[in-house]
Symmetry: D2
């Protein structure tokens, strides 16, 4: 086990200094548990700044919980969620949405991005008691493939969804990366364009087990506090979760961290994009680079650098950057890529 900063996942990065400092600063004396503390109140204020005066944030421990609780809050048990095949809730949550009783309706989206056209066929058999009723459209921003929705694309999805009787949920495990890449505030890709609920991600950006369900409309989320408790997501020492979220959303902490991670992906893409034997497969917009390599090259690289093969069949790999990825990490890795693909001398 090495502490080398690799390209396996932003989840493998450590904790932002600002988050650790916020926890240490919150560590004086006693404070009300379960959210009735000053840090949680400040955190709520931060979410209102970034997501509008009507935003209600509910800290939870991880992204799976944020997603499952968000869709539970937006649906009845017989209502279903439309998402892309690549969606985290479909691929990587071990059936937690279904464990909670919700059926997912899957659309194929080669670049991870849904459109009204892709989603529309899944709104079917409305009122037919034999069929689940589509109620939520869930998109991921930035997507699991490192691609982005433009604000007007989200607006169009929201318009379509609302017209079809659906609510729009954003899995924002990397929403800060998305906003940073687009150069817009968080509200420009959420509340301002019709999003109804967000799974706000802090962990991949450097927090320690701190995410939040953010509800953006008044008429959803009845009893959410009970749901969160039942889902085993109520932190007793919540001040330490809230303090981190507060720190991330204060000043430009989130923006700097996300911008840096994105820049490292861009640097990597630039460094390997022209290399023979490397074919970049998705637009590099946030903090991921997807590329196809020869298996032999991949295996050689993996001996030294941690990263994941995304698709064994095609040889596609995923390289993630993080808030703490250094330019030298990227340069060393790019050199290793060149070397493994036979396109350059090994880095000395």
């Amino acid at each position: 086990m090495t502490n080398r900063r690799g390209f396996a996942s932003d989840n493998q990065a450590g904790v932002l200094p600002e988050a650790l400092a916020a926890m240490a600063a919150a560590n004086g004396g006693h404070a009300p548990s379960y959210g009735a503390d000053a840090w949680t109140a400040r955190m709520q204020e931060r979410f209102r700044e970034h997501f509008g005066a009507g935003a209600r944030a509910f800290p939870v421990f991880n992204g799976t919980a944020a997603n499952v609780l968000a869709i539970e809050a937006l649906t009845q048990p017989w209502e279903a969620v439309i998402c892309a095949r690549s969606a985290h809730m479909n691929m990587d949550e071990c059936g937690a949405p279904e464990r909670a009783g919700r059926k997912l309706l899957i659309a194929d989206a080669p670049d991870g991005r849904l459109t009204p056209e892709l989603a529309a066929p899944l709104v079917a058999r409305v009122g037919d008691e034999h069929a689940v009723q589509a109620r939520v459209l869930s998109i991921t921003q930035s997507t699991e493939l490192g691609t982005l929705y433009e604000p007007d694309e989200i607006a169009a999805l929201a318009d379509w969804a609302h017209g079809a009787g659906l609510l729009l949920h954003v899995d924002g495990a990397r929403i800060c990366n998305a906003a940073a890449a687009l150069g817009v505030p968080l509200r420009a890709i959420t509340v301002d364009v019709g999003v109804d609920a967000v799974s706000f991600g802090g962990t991949k950006l450097g927090l320690l087990g701190a995410e939040a369900v953010v509800l953006l409309r008044d008429d959803v989320g009845d009893g959410f506090l009970y749901r969160r408790k039942q889902a085993m997501q109520l932190a007793s020492k919540m001040r330490f979760v809230s303090a981190q979220l507060d720190a991330l959303l204060s000043g430009d902490v989130w923006l700097r961290a996300a911008t840096h991670a994105n820049a490292m992906a861009a640097r990597l893409a630039a460094a390997v994009g022209g290399v023979a034997g490397v074919r970049i497969t998705q637009a590099v917009r946030a903090n991921a680079v997807f590329a196809v390599l020869e298996p032999a090259a991949t295996q050689a690289l993996q001996r030294e650098w941690p990263f994941y093969v995304w698709d064994e069949a095609t040889g596609e790999v995923r390289w993630m950057t993080a808030w703490d990825t250094a330019p030298e990490d990227v340069d060393a890795f790019a050199a290793a890529v060149r070397s493994a693909t036979g396109s350059g001398p090994p880095r000395r």
Copy 2:
């Protein structure tokens, strides 16, 4: 909102310096996520030291999750859990066990402590398809009422349970307090006396969202990793959870913290035990004092000091001490109790 150290809950205390330091120390570079890291391996080693070579520990975020996952792992959907009426899983988890599909069978235990005699009537209708089948006996150590099971009492419960075809689970949200109070190692009240699974509590003793399901026999827990993920309890940056548990169980950290908290409760009990208008209702063994006061005295006290009324009907209150409760806190509070009950001058 005040940072005064009150007597509301050990959950309102902050984080042990050792835990914060462990997190900071773990914060170098990247590490494999989801538990494949060095800190988690060390944490497993600690649990084996304290709970025997066969112990398998699975970190989760909070005590409700530890309880629910433990009982899910020990049961089939049609099997039930016997617990005391006062059990956290019955009273304070918002129906999370039932949300997971498990029925609780409730025994009345005035001091929070079950016995084979109290539990036996709930093992009934064995093999009758119309009735859930009792499969787990769950006890809490130390109990929600601050009382304790002696090692031989647990052994007797385990013998009875196993003889009746049940497994024995310990909700150990405060198991370190119990071991410290009894002056025995953790294994003496768990693996050595026949316990099959433990919800190991770290949070109430000063960790930041770090608990663990500890399975103590080989033939339970198939697929537990999947269950944990489905239950939304898999930490991506698990090293920071594991590092805390490792720190707590290294050297005498757990023992000092628990011993101190217990001592503060004893100090409080000693200070107010003889006060007119204060009737201590439960044996003070761990870090809780239960007492009955006049409502007027309670209300006067609560204006200055946070604590909970346990039973509105009887006027019973609960005073919890924590790892960070100072002797001066106790003395000041005891003086306030004397004053509020008209038994002494206000402390100057």
Copy 3:
């Protein structure tokens, strides 16, 4: 296996001739499935006659399904149901309510009958996210112990429940027996006294797998058709279920069947009530007789007659009568009771 008509359960009786005839009559040609048929429309009309113009009936296959679907329809996942310990949903449904995610809050009611005083302590911690929120009061009419609620007792329970923010559900597996015994129409113990939902029982009165959830207020039951389908309770050939319910509720079929069953219980109680060695333990109001016998007498009786021991500890037995119990069955059984208890010559 014998076809002797015993006293084990009204579930062991056969099918009413009227029900068989109704099924045969419905068996001409094709009819829309899943309830869009003429028989189901007529059945709905019958329920409106008996339960008021606002009644909506949803056929299901058995009483457990009626209960579970009724309480699901009346609650959110974090809301709980108050019922008597003896309630079928607590004792005899193998945890089906909990499997559906609902916690039951249990009140002890020695005669199976709840009162506001018994239920009130279970409405606690309102608004506390750590506790399930009581939302439904469920009573059984006639009770599992053969006792009855008077109309004004139900009215008082409804008033109390509504005042406390609860809805009132009646498990009416034997509601026709109750109405017959009280000499009132079905509406006098349901819609007219504030009941919000009924599990209407047909099977125990002689139908073949035909029960119904009857919702009595407009503001509950959103999406009930989907819930029923998800709960695997939607009959494709529903006309045959509806035709039976229609037959039962047409003319005085239900009243005659129930009155007869009740009368047989009264006859039995009269015949054995004064027998030495037989102590009747519950008021005999509907179609059940509960009595305590010596174990030896019980065992002797069971060699010839099927019936259940209700409580092994006390020696209490349950004798149920049914729509098809004949006076001679009662007389023969009463003679056997006298003989087994040593109080009379064996019947010649």
Copy 4:
């Protein structure tokens, strides 16, 4: 509402005379409830005759219940079921499998028939805690599209499934139609070719709410009786369900009924197959005909004859025949098809 025998669904047909007669014959006196009766014992014997000495049959009320209980019995909560997109459990059960906590993994199969090649990509990420683990392959025989698996095709699927660590389930809502069409006994397409569990369908063939889960191997189904009760599928008057299944599987009742229904589909296909404006889209093997018509023709036909449009987008319709479809029904309908498509004179 008409009693005309149309082509909407075999669920719209009535009840086989043999089934009604069996229920009437079972209606003498009392019998043990919940399956401890002589009819259920005989029914078990029938299933052993048809599905092998190791077969265990569990009556349930409908096909959705049979499917959900079968897959629950074959899986752990984190295990998934591979099925065709057209599978009833995916399309027509309102998410009941997901309500029970099981994720379905969907393969596209244009004719409703899975192959190892179609299923294999869904067995992925074995041992990865972030992904559900494929455990069951579920096929439908005859399929929802009226097509069939040959015995050797099922054998190949079973071989592949077992080799991949999966169990093979057959949704046999119309399995009698399939066996009749193939001219083989029921065991030739189930136990003899490696099938592990069957949802045996009686309702579509003329029973009144009588299906069965049939487990074909000893090492699955622990606690199935409890599961069935929890799933609200335990019939108290089970003799009337079992008597029907017994009647269907006695002598050649099932074979005659299924053969007839199949023959009527073949007759219809022959009559309209060559008609201009009618394109039959699936092989007509069992009791369904799928065809594409002009929407105007479909609408004209539907004014007189009940049937379903299967796919609004393509204009594909489904015509089902049943045990009671008469040759004259087919001929009249075929004439109407010719007329509606402008290919012949209206029937006089």
